[in-house]
Amino acid sequence: MNTNPWLDLEPDVELERYELREQPRYQFELDRRDFFRIVGSGIVVCLIVSDDAEAQQRGRGGRGGGGGPAEIGGWLHIAESGEVTVYTGKVEVGQNIRTSLSQAVAEELRLPVASIKLVMADTELTPPDAGTFGSRTTPDMAARLRRVAAAAREVLLDLAAEQSKSDRKTLKLTGGKITDPATGKALTYGELTKGQKLTKTVQADVVTTPVADWKIAGTSAPKVAGTAIVTGQHRFASDIKLPGMLHGKVLRPPTLNAKLVSVDLAAAQARPGVTAVRDGEFVGVAARTVQEAEQALAAIKAQWSTPAEASSTTLFDDLKRTGDAGGAGRGGPGRGGGGSQGSIDAGLAAAHKLAATYTVAYIAHAPLEPRAAVAQWEAGKLTVWTGTQRPFGIQSDLARAFGLPQQSVRVIVPDTGSAYGGKHTNEAATEAARLAKAAGHPVKLVWTREEEFTWAYFRPAGVIEVNAGVSKEGKLTAWDFHNYNSGGSSIRPLYDIPNQRTATHSSQSPLKQGSYRALAATANSFARECHLDDLAHAAGIDPLEFRLGNLSDPRLRAVLVAAAERFGWGKRQPAKGCGFGIAGSSEKGSYVATCAEVEIPPDGGKLRVVRAVTAFECGAIVNPDHLQNQVEGSVMMGLGGALFEAISYVKGRITNANFSGYRVPRFGDLPELETVLVNRPDLPSAGAGETPIIAIAPAIGNAIFQATGTRLRSLPLDVASLKG
């Protein structure tokens, strides 16, 4: 079904491949006339990134060979009015990068955050970008825009020195002005750029402001454009309205893999104002209102052939049965792939052994804004407003689907109603464009909640087999860890284990699966940290002490200790019917540990997570308040996957494709959340939107074990099976 390499829908998708797509794929021809046509006079500063510099920066040499084409990684314009506009292909989906990137630029230009305008994710205006995922915005894009802004600052100083005929070294740059202390005369950025058409390109070697000197970055700047959110003025893609716009609906198959045999559009087509389209497997309608579109859709008669399809009751058997022999992970050492050292047999020989199987269910991202798009054709050119993490990928999808050159397609991504890894694709864009083409009017298509739950893609389910050994002294001696289907992120233990083997096995996934916040790090951390907990209990050692006794990695140690201290680990005992659990892990260059307290009422009442304390470290902190917000939100979202989220399907039909059937965390599930931010100004800032989600599930599982003596090894945790 999937012939489009941009669509990440292959059932056996290897998750690390998403990250391989981060590098910009397109060359953006640098033509200064183009810039000034778009933005008017002033100064334009472009950052040139070569494949080499990028590879080096990320510590991943080798890919793509040396000397790749130069590409623009970001650009900035200072207008004659003094207005600063920065252009980036990244998207804002709630992770607050519009704010953090503005802070980075404001810092270098010595301006308030409010003076920076960020144009994001518009394929006509912003530099190409492979997508917003993999926690790369902060380490890559923020670093780039910082260099662009720092270079712009130097250009302004050059101009000021030239215009004031003074010594450049003595000039002072503050608050959007450059002052010559000798004369007291100040020039604003607008005065400096007046009449200029200057372009400057910079490489990766620009010197930026060191963390110790940060005044704007590193502070809790409030969310940029927050007022538009609280007043309802912000237009999400689903809020766009164009003159003459129609509303679209798409006919969906009765089961996930059903094929269209025949279709009769006549009754739909006969309705006033309706355009009905069949194009291959695609069947849809456009009408004046959503309701008229729904009625037209209902009037379509279609016949489908339905193959034998899978049910979730056999999911884990299916994944295990179809699993391949396994590899050491395709990411290679240090990137979360697998590997081996020592001898598992030797390590197990003289040890207390423990083998167990863990499973994780398919879960849905369920972004509150479902897939949505507004498509408009004008003079052979297609413009689509849509919510996606890959604007340039969607542009390619559309160009390919309609046989258009890339430049005839413009994709604009308004700040979007969340994604969590679930909007790498946006099929609504192609569907709306197809309907708009047929109707000769702009078309808006907003997926229903049921469509979003059924026709998007899921976080991979997985089966994880672990066999491990521990010595009488509580030292880990062997670690054999196999992940079927869910992926290799965070699969390598950071613990000191002399004999270890970790491997990923590809399976045939019954459902479409793809990226999800923190990828497989949730599954692998769950299995690892629960298994370690069992080993600690087997060795008769406190779970925190056990971990620290097998762990040299200073960053993971630091967050475990920080979470435990705030929680009061070891200082008090749980009340009857309560339990404490701890877990830690690392992914994408950041470190997390969570301590959880659960309560299981003895009368068979509902399990409750009473308190969760999370320590998180991601290098130098860019915005403490927004970081804390990401940590709290991740823990809350992770609680859903830990306790109740699971997609259920019967013979190719999703049976809980709505919020009444698919339970997500609500206010009533809110524990007391506490966050400890471990700042490391000596380390580069890493992304923070993903990793804080990975420690809550094992922390809860371990707390349940302490409270009940029962080890639950499946996500979601089957708390209904517990007796208090």
Binding site: G232, P370, S418, N629, R666
Partner: protein
Amino acid sequence: MPTTLSVNGREHRLDAQPDRPLLSVLRDDLDLTGAKYGCGEGQCGACTVLIDGRPVRSCITELSECDGKRITTIEGLAKGDDLHPLQSAFLECGAMQCGYCTPGMILSGVALLEKTPEPSRPEIMHALQGNICRCGTYQRIVQAVQQAAAAPKGGVR
């Protein structure tokens, strides 16, 4: 038969089908897009508006039920540039990430504060139980409602 809809103090006479969801009429006919579609079954609260001061799921409310009633959407909450205290509190507490649930959250919170000016934490959580924030900012939203409750009165309608 035309329906008369009073939205944010303005009267609208509409020829729309009486069984259309209020959410669709507000968004598509009146271009008041602050109320969001999230589920279409009254389960997520993204479409919440106030009808005569009560929080209502506009996605499962038919236009015919609204004739002559007083509807407040998020667009009508601020008085000019003066934000409602709960809108200000959301900004001050950073009680949002993507912001898609925010209008519905704020209107549900406003309805609570109207009825219970000084709600307890359990009362807040109970009143907002039907509103989903998929980004998980619940703790901050509770704080924002508490902060607005503690704010000097007079702004709350």
